[in-house]
């Protein structure tokens, strides 16, 4: 069973092909180029170098947010195009869960963070004692200070003594986190810091095996935030 995973939720663009639990190829790029230019050629390279076409793929996986609004839409629109043309089923996975999956078999509280701009981060909290991350609280957008307070509360409640911070929301507030969390905190090394399409593919594999597919027609990004205009209008999502 082949799973083609596509991620453009953050400044990272990634594509991976996983076949029966074996990672065949992965491309990762965190270099300043627009996803709309890089992502489709990446998909083409991954497939061709693995000597297959889209039609040999059994499922498509995509990060559905949170993340950059435009990045999320480029990835999802691309996946919808592939799916509609071929009938291949789609699985959408949380960007924060994908990042959390860089860590496993750890007693620490795993905290993926994305740069949400406007002085905020998108954050989530995972238990990573086994292979797969287990969510301990709803993801949200908040200030770094609110994140730290929630992290400390969750650590207390779950008898954890340390936490791992990772994702592109870490470095903008690195000094602040160090000051507030001191040696309770560890940040992930560069190769585990950012979302990997391979992790996305593996997370999707379980859902694929259980037949838990998303509806290609209605699948939408998880933005967490409303658009500015909707905020100003002072009402719920349109």
């Amino acid at each position: 069973m082949r799973i083609l995973a596509i991620d453009s939720a953050t400044p990272v663009a990634g594509v991976a092909l996983l076949n029966d639990g074996i990672l065949l190829k992965e491309e990762f790029s965190n270099y300043k180029k627009t996803h709309s230019e890089t992502l489709m050629p990446m998909v083409d390279r991954v497939l061709r170098e693995c000597e297959c076409t889209v039609n040999d793929v059994d499922a498509l996986a995509v990060t559905i947010g949170p993340g950059s609004f435009t990045g999320l839409r480029i990835g999802l629109a691309l996946v919808k195009g592939l799916a509609l043309a071929t009938g291949i089923p789609v699985v959408g996975v949380s960007t924060l869960e994908v990042i959390a999956f860089n860590i496993y078999d750890s007693d620490a509280l795993v905290c993926p963070l994305l740069n949400a701009r406007k002085g905020e981060v998108y954050c989530a909290f995972y238990q990573a004692g086994g292979i797969k991350p287990v969510s301990l609280a709803d993801m949200r957008a908040c200030s770094p200070e609110e994140f730290v307070q929630q992290a400390l509360t969750i650590m207390d409640a779950n008898n954890k003594t340390s936490l791992i911070l990772l994702g592109d929301g870490f470095s903008p507030y690195q000094e602040f986190f160090l000051e507030r969390l001191g040696d309770k905190m560890v940040s992930a090394p560069p190769h585990l810091m950012l979302p990997r399409a391979s992790a996305l593919a593996q997370l999707a594999a379980d859902r694929v095996n259980n037949g838990q597919f998303d509806n290609v027609f209605t699948l939408s990004p998880v933005y967490i935030r409303l658009s500015e205009a909707e905020y100003r209008l002072g009402r719920g999502a349109v």
């Binding site: 709309s36 050629p41 039609n55 839409r73 990835g75 629109a77 691309l78 195009g81 509609l84 043309a85």
Partner: protein, 336 residues
């Protein structure tokens, strides 16, 4: 003769649209998911909201285009998509979808300029349009005058410096509390009023070029209205009529001047504002006076749609002008 079916995709503003057109002429389906009701509450198109709706709806709209045409993916020869000009985030949804759809179905991809698409709407409905032609593309997103020496060849000779004409309609309609979208709302109000009872400037009409500016007209209308509203007794219908006249007269006179300068045989209008009754009437009169043939698309093909994109792509298809997988979207029209 081999029939060429092209799937067109259009997401440059607030309409998610897909259509299938045969040989650049016969419309087999033309599906438009309009967001007008959503943007009404904001009084104009909100780019982020539009982009969100596009990605939600795109697959459904394309599926519907196939189902209405009674075709499947195997029956089409190419995929065409608008990649400029427009709201960048909105364009990117259509471009990303079209690229992967074309790739997965192993069909060539064709990038279409939205302005050329609008103009092409005329060729979907009219035969034997004589060249050279002057085209006025006027909508909520653009106000451009183009010179077309022959089919498929065009250059922009003038554009708006600020607001598009349709945008000015929207803003003034909102200010006068006439409703949304502004074009039809102002037109309806204007029918009950009379132009000339208050006086607004014909902006840029004194300039010997093909540039437009509607932001100044919009501000003048708002200031004038605030003034006379305080005095009382003024009719909002008269204001709507004067505003519409001031805008339409500049569009028409500059178009006629361009037609004379370029020795045009035809004048083509396109875009949502080309549906405006006052514009059609005055442009028709002036064209007949000066001896130009005048064309505009039927109402449904004036506003944004994908049939004009699929139709416009036919020529590129015949010439083998295909787009690569790294095709990007651009907010500006650039050179055509």
């Amino acid at each position: 003769m081999q029939e060429t079916m092209i799937l067109g995709i259009e997401t440059s503003c607030d309409e998610t649209a897909a259509a299938i057109v045969c040989n650049g002429r016969r419309i087999l389906s033309n599906v438009i998911n309009s967001q007008i009701d959503i943007h009404r509450q904001f009084g104009g198109v909100v780019p982020e909201v539009a982009s969100r709706k596009h990605v939600e709806n795109i697959a459904l709209v394309v599926e519907e285009a196939f189902s209405q045409a009674g075709l499947t993916q195997r029956d089409i020869q190419a995929v065409a998509v608008t990649n400029r000009p427009g709201l960048i985030g909105a364009l990117l949804v259509g471009v990303s979808f079209a690229k992967s759809y074309a790739y997965a179905s192993q069909k060539p991809l064709i990038a279409v300029n939205h302005l050329q698409g609008h103009i092409y709407a005329n060729f979907l409905e009219h035969d034997n349009i004589a060249f050279p032609a002057i085209c006025l593309v006027v909508s909520g997103g653009h106000t451009s005058l183009l010179y077309m020496s022959e089919p498929g060849r065009m250059e922009i000779i003038g554009e708006t410096r600020d607001d598009a004409a349709g945008e000015a309609f929207d803003k003034v309609a909102r200010f006068l509390k006439l409703g949304y979208p502004g074009g039809p709302a102002v037109q309806k109000a204007a029918e009950q009023g009379e132009a000339g009872r208050m006086v607004l400037p014909r902006v840029f009409l004194d300039r010997n070029d093909y540039e437009f500016s509607f932001s100044g007209l919009k501000t003048a209308a708002m200031n004038e209205w605030k003034k006379i509203e305080r005095r009382g007794g003024a009719s909002v219908y008269d204001m709507a009529a004067e505003f519409q006249s001031a805008l339409v007269e500049v569009l028409v006179e500059k178009t006629i001047r361009a037609a004379a300068h370029y020795h045009a045989k035809s004048i083509l209008m396109a875009g949502g504002v080309a549906a405006n009754g006052a514009l059609r009437t005055l442009m028709g009169q002036r064209s007949r006076d000066e001896g130009y043939e005048i064309y505009y698309p039927s109402l449904g093909l004036c506003t944004d749609n994908a049939a004009m994109i699929a139709g416009c792509a036919y020529n590129a298809y015949r010439l083998g002008q295909f787009a690569p997988l790294d095709l990007n979207a651009y907010p500006a029209a650039r050179s055509l």
